[in-house]
Amino acid sequence: MTAEPVVTAAPGQEETDGLVVWLQTTDHKRIGILTLGAAFVLFLFDGMLGLTMRAQLARPGQHILSAQQYNQVFTIHGTGMIGLAITPFALGLGVYLIPLQVGAPRIAAPRVTLLGYWCYVLGAVTLVWAFLTPGGAAAGWWGYTPLSSSIYSPGPGMSLWVAGVFLAASGMILQGATVLWTILRMRAPGVTMLRIPVFAWTMVVTCLMTLASFPSLLTAMGVITAARIDPGLLASNAWNLAYENLFWFYGHPVVYVMFFPFVGCVAEVLAVFSGRRFFNYTGTAFSLLAFAALSMAVWGHHLFISGQQVNDYFSLTSILLTIPAGMEYFGLLGTIAGGRLRYPTAMLFALAFIPQFLIGGLTGIMLGTPSVDYAVNNSYFVVAHFHYTLFAGSVFGFFAGVYFWWPKATGFLLDERAGRLHFVLMVIGANVTYLPMFGLGIKGMPRWVVTYPAGAGFSALSLISSIGAGVIGLAMMAFLYNIYISARQKKPATADPWGGHSLEWLTSSPPPRFNYDAQFPIPRIRSFTPALDLRERQRERQRVTPSQRAGRPVTDTVTTDTRAYRDEG
């Protein structure tokens, strides 16, 4: 990599490949793939940690992991899944798709986006290092003070955890900023705010929440750092409570950052494979804004049991979430209603998302009632709740998006039969693992325990749950197998293998360097489904007889957004 001005090839020519070239990219598509790839590796790593936890808990009194090891494992499983896997899945999808979906030739501030990727990767390295340090970070993904101070978590592991969390979150803030700016300021002509795809609307609110809440996490890390330099700070309990509020001010919106893009994937997939436009588009867009705003005001429901806040307000806001959430479901169900459904793998994952996420959402409303929360908070009931929303919900939505956009990004199709196997194993695995955990919570099993007494009544459900975890492991292997055989078969994908609705289906698979060019131009935009509109117009024109066609001006083809561009050194 030199500092010489590089005059690259003429527009449309592909960059050369190779690892060194990839790591120097400013192409949002490659940055997106790098982000998603790193996140997937970390997802598998954290998943294996989860499997280890379930192996340890399958029977009472086991010693697969020591107490110290177990505490470190669940700390990195939580921090890793949230900060290093699912959040980067969310923002990585945005980095890849948004410029394509709004008709921009590049993302806003490509180098800031790349900086975001590097901060995230270096943060991930630091966090794995924290995990591998003996006696390392073991204060859970919450990192509550005083447990995370230097008195109760001595040694470098906890400090490395703080550094890693800060770096990874900073990276996500930067990517959130550039994705948002792209949607707000770089849409192609004709793409108004109410003509961006539903997925893009979910990215708008995701990025807004990221920018508004992630800085609070950075501040919280500052509090821990101060407490590790001077633990005497925590003599005043006000600091502990301040940490809890700062942490959860981030900690609740982040779960919506880990939800909205994937419900966006589900929305796109449901529309395309029902053969109809997404239902109640405008209502959904405004619902998303209300949903995201409310999600910034509910964090106190994590502090119901602190005894140091007015619980009524947070109960009110938490329960009010039902309204925009219900409107979202109205849009999803309205989209498939009356449709002609096709069932490729992407659609299977999208359909399964609907009831599975609902289980998580409904139990969330229950937890939003303090009287219920007092009983079941910090028990396995909560573990079940958030794994239903995050795994049986968001990860299913993520796979719907993966199967849907894979051909666009890579140029070849994923195998459908292996995809179905992956899907079936995921459904069985997710439900067998997490449904029993509701029962465990009601029976009184606490979180964060390396083992449990044999006579406590937790053994049967724990064993069932652990078997389910094994099935999830098989599901992941099926997915990896799918990638392997699909890469070998290399069944080529056309520009639009599914009959897609949004703009990205009008360019090649994979797209050219600057997304749209002379061969794949942006058509006239009249709605949020430009590809569908174009297909319908073409079909309409084919029905018109030649004599009728003569004299009628062709008004909609081959127009293009000319963003001339120049590479600078």
Binding site: P146, L147, L234, I323, M327, R340, V372, Y374, A375
Partner: protein, 218 residues
């Protein structure tokens, strides 16, 4: 204060509502897929409607009504759990959490119960039935949480701060208590027992423990 009673009522209500909603959504999906299958067989096209404004408005209204109902239920339950006028407690126990066990000090009496929580040495919190008892919760190191699953109640124990709640134990019995906030290495073993006895028996127990304390000079 009547946490258990309030909880079971609300949990049942909300579970039923959740079950009904879940069932309705599943039924809707099944209906949609059936209709779609029939459309394929007939060769009929997909529907084209993008909006049904009246239905959207009605649905939004229904959601708002449901949410309002749940908010009222939640506020009322919280009001029952923490009434404006708490019953005056007849005794106080100071519960101190520490890494990694519990200490129960009966305020006004020279009686303290503690243990190591290792190898089954779990301390027992003995309380009388039928009388309001105030629990003063605190910690000497990190944040813990006092949880008795039978009571359907838990509360955090912060260092440098006292959280109070009042509870009336309805009947005699012996139940497990657990720590419900990650507090370090032996969080998983930080159990205790809640033992509720008739008032007279409690008086005798307290007197005997106080006597022992006086004799041993503590």
């Amino acid at each position: 204060m009547p946490f258990r009673h309030v909880y079971s009522g609300i949990f049942l209500l909300e579970s039923v509502i959740a079950g009904v909603v879940f069932g309705l959504v599943l039924a809707a999906m099944a209906a949609v897929m059936l209709v779609s299958w029939r459309k394929r067989r007939r060769g009929a096209p997909a529907a084209r409607r993008e909006h049904l404004r009246l239905l959207e408005a009605a649905f939004g209204l229904a959601l708002a009504v449901m949410a309002a109902f749940l908010v009222v239920v939640s506020f009322s339950a919280n009001g029952q759990d923490f009434p404006r006028q708490d019953p005056k407690p007849t005794m106080r126990v100071q519960v101190t959490a520490f890494q990694w066990c519990w200490r129960f000090r009966y305020v006004g009496q020279p009686v303290t119960v503690t243990g190591s929580c290792a190898d089954g040495d779990y301390p027992v919190l003995v309380l009388p039935a039928g009388r309001p008892v105030e629990i003063d919760l605190t910690s000497v190191d990190v944040v813990h949480a006092f949880w008795v699953p039978y009571l359907d109640y838990k509360m955090d124990a912060f260092p440098g701060h006292v959280d109070r709640f009042i509870v009336t134990l309805p009947r005699d019995g012996r139940w497990i208590g657990r720590c419900a906030q990650l507090c370090g290495l032996y969080h998983y073993e930080m159990d205790f027992y809640l033992q509720v006895v008739p008032q007279a028996q409690f008086g005798r127990w307290l007197h005997a423990r106080a006597g022992t304390a006086a004799v041993s000079g503590r």
